[in-house]
């Protein structure tokens, strides 16, 4: 339980915590405030955003007739649905750094809910595209999810927390392929005609989105110690300048590499969410709800695959540290590319479904593995790096749909094969990521005995250090020593828990 407003008495938490009051364990079935409650609020609200963003694809066979859409219109709307979040995710990262994940995510979700309501009254390809475009902005809530988890959970479990929250949110992309055809069928049964039923069906994701945002605002807390605003006013949390956060984020090359590689695991996932229902419906002549069920199984794999990726990241980090995390990421994502190529080549329904499920597991695990690395790239600009990586995911989705899945140039099967090749190529840059204190895929840590403190404190100038703005980064550096892996960890001398350096 938390003791309110007394700085002298350390607050008590239901879960064991580290020096930053971040939980060191992850208990899935607990809703204890603030850690696990934040987890459940963030994944549910993110899930709602995914449901809304991908509510249209399973109903496209009806919508395309009602709005007289061509294949190009559908492709453009698909691209629009994931392009809004490119910049929204970067902006969201900065917003989280400045205002806290609770307000940032709830604001975004409530401001994009109107787009979902307005999808119900779309009457042309243009209005449909605009509705999907603005709805897609809500996917930026991914960044607040990851930021929130990185603020609530400590290094040993941050990969798992990020993976489960991200994965269960992404689940929405699969669940919606089941939910929307079901809701549609229900409304059809009540007596509406097809062209009205799909419109009414859209109110369900819209309402869900609105209610989840309310829950976040009412029950959520930014940090274990409280909300940003109150902590900022009482001086417990320092306010940082946008320009500094921005500079330290974009000047870190690792952020850019992860943005690219994330485009080819998460971006691919978004692309498949957009095209797979129509692919099965048209290629294998299935009924709408059958195609929806198969399409759903792609996104539903997220229930275990992305969290699995996060847990794998944490598990290899225990033994091999950051180097293990990077290797695991590269291997899993490359295999995802291989299975994507195979998916484009198989011709029977059974084989397609089987390959698609294996493909989904690898691609989603790669997403989880990526966010096992992201929390360590920067401490000062954690939000921005999360945003850049997340935004990069959407850029990947935009590019892939633009090149391979727009109009009638390539059949969907051919597009998938090419997409697989692109995944393999764009995953290679992981080899270039290098941390001086931990090493990279092919090189060990720098022989100049670089430390975690050196790396994280290099983001602060000496004037800022004098003002004590860097203390949070110092705590984090200490807690991140585990990323050296078991062999190295036993060789380093134990460091004092209290930060002793005040220049």
């Amino acid at each position: 339980m938390e003791v309110e407003g007394q700085a002298t008495q350390p607050p008590k938490f239901a879960l064991p915590v580290d020096s930053e009051n971040k939980a060191t364990v992850f208990r899935l079935f607990s809703v204890a405030a603030p850690h696990m409650r934040a987890f459940h609020l963030s994944w549910v609200s993110f899930f709602a955003c995914f449901v809304s963003t991908f509510a249209a694809p399973p109903l496209l066979p009806i919508i395309r007739d009602n709005l007289n859409l061509t294949a190009s219109d559908i492709g453009n709307a698909g691209i629009a649905s994931v392009s809004g979040a490119v910049f929204a995710r970067v902006a969201m990262g900065t917003a989280c750094d400045l205002f806290g994940p609770r307000l940032a995510s709830a604001s975004l979700i409530l401001l994009t809910a109107p787009a979902v309501y307005f999808t119900s009254i779309a009457s042309s390809s243009t209005s449909f595209l605009l509705a999907r475009f603005f709805t897609g902005f809500s996917l930026a809530s991914f960044v607040s999810t990851q930021f929130w988890m990185s603020s609530m959970f400590s290094a040993p479990v941050v990969g798992t927390a990020n993976g489960v929250a991200g994965g269960w949110g992404n689940l929405g992309g699969g669940a919606t392929q089941l939910i929307m055809p079901l809701v549609f069928a229900l409304i059809l049964n009540i007596g509406a005609v097809k062209f009205t039923a799909w419109r009414i069906a859209f109110f369900i994701p819209a309402l869900f989105q609105t209610l989840s945002a309310f829950a976040v605002l009412i029950f959520g807390k930014d940090l274990p110690d409280g909300n940003f605003r109150r902590l900022q006013k009482s001086g417990d949390k320092t306010k940082d300048k946008v320009s500094n956060v921005f500079f330290h984020g974009i000047s870190n090359y690792r952020g850019w590499i992860l943005a690219l590689t994330y485009g080819y695991c998460f971006g691919v996932e978004l692309t498949i969410d957009n095209i797979v229902a129509e692919y099965f419906y048209d290629r294998f002549d299935l009924k709408l709800h059958t195609a929806g069920m198969i399409a759903a199984s792609f996104g539903l794999a997220n229930i275990v695959s992305r969290p699995g990726g996060g847990m794998l990241s944490d598990a290899v980090a225990k033994r091999f540290g950051m180097r293990g995390r990077l290797w695991a990421l590269w291997i899993v994502q490359t295999l995802g590319g291989v299975f994507c190529i195979i998916l484009g080549r198989v011709g029977s329904l059974g084989a397609s479904v089987a390959v698609m499920i294996v493909f989904s597991i690898f691609v989603q695990a790669a997403c989880g593995l990526t966010f096992g690395v992201v929390p360590f790239v920067s401490r000062r600009s954690l939000g921005l790096i999360s945003g850049m990586t997340g935004g990069g995911g959407n850029v990947g989705a935009v590019l892939t749909q633009l090149i391979f899945f727009k109009g009638s140039k390539y059949s969907k099967e051919t597009g998938m094969t090419f997409m697989g090749v692109m995944i393999i190529c764009c995953t290679l840059p992981v080899c270039l990521i290098y941390f001086p204190q931990w090493g990279g895929m092919f090189c060990g840590p720098s022989s100049k005995s670089a430390t975690e403190e050196d790396y994280y404190l290099s983001e602060w100038t000496s004037e800022e250090k004098e003002k004590g703005l860097h203390l949070a980064s110092l705590k984090f550096a200490d807690n991140s020593r585990r990323e050296r892996g078991r062999k190295q960890d036993s060789e380093t001398k134990p460091v004092d828990e209290t930060p002793s350096t005040h220049v």
Partner: protein, 205 residues
């Protein structure tokens, strides 16, 4: 010799079995029926409201007995090429099982061989027929339920005498009002929350 005879026999047998396995090609069908539809050129039919009358009959210039195999007819509404452009899900394929040109059934009836010249049906354009350009085609089926002949309102290139349908939008005023109200509620409640947060922040100081 015996082997060659066996091969020939099996080929003949498999060819005669082919129609039974349903691989009917559109290009193999003969255009023996004459079909007309009531709408005037340029008339736009409203979904759920307007009616069309389709009349079909055997082409009288053909020799007698051409229609001896016809048992049933199906009258269908088909997409014209202009409505198939850039829409792979409406593609015309020669294999009748895979062909997606004619998705809407107007009526299925036994073929009336007594009244060869004109059989007709009056049909209200259904509410789930999308906005597009169409023509009407009538397929004649034999006793094995395979297509054997057809007729259509348009020419071979499917460019003349086409029908325009304007579908219902599916929107209702109630829906419009609900959308707007709920959207406004979402945005206003956010503003409300911010206001409450600000008040709380001021109070804790």
């Amino acid at each position: 010799m015996a082997a060659r005879d066996l091969l020939l026999a099996s080929l003949v047998l498999s060819c005669s079995l082919l129609p039974c396995y349903g691989v009917v090609l559109f290009s193999s069908l003969q255009r023996t029926l004459v079909v007309t539809a009531s709408p005037a050129p340029g008339q736009v039919l409203k979904g759920g409201v307007d009616k069309i009358t389709v009349t079909w009959g055997l082409n009288q210039t053909l020799p007698a007995g051409t229609d001896s195999a016809y048992k049933t007819v199906k009258v269908k509404l088909c997409y014209a090429p202009v409505s198939q452009a850039d829409r792979g899900w409406r593609k015309t394929q020669d294999n009748m099982k895979k062909d997606k040109t004619c998705p809407y059934k107007i009526v299925a009836r036994p073929y009336n061989s007594a009244n060869k010249t004109s059989q007709s049906v009056e049909w209200t354009v259904q509410r789930d027929v999308p906005t597009a350009t169409y023509f009407v085609r009538v397929y004649a089926f034999n006793a094995d339920e395979n297509e054997v002949a057809y007729g259509q309102t348009t020419d071979a290139h499917k460019t003349t005498t086409l029908l325009q349908v304007e579908a219902i939008s599916g929107r209702h005023k109630t829906m419009d009002v609900c959308s707007i109200c709920f959207s406004a509620f979402s945005v206003l409640s956010l503003a409300g929350f911010f206001y409450i947060e600000k008040r709380k922040g001021k109070r804790s100081q």
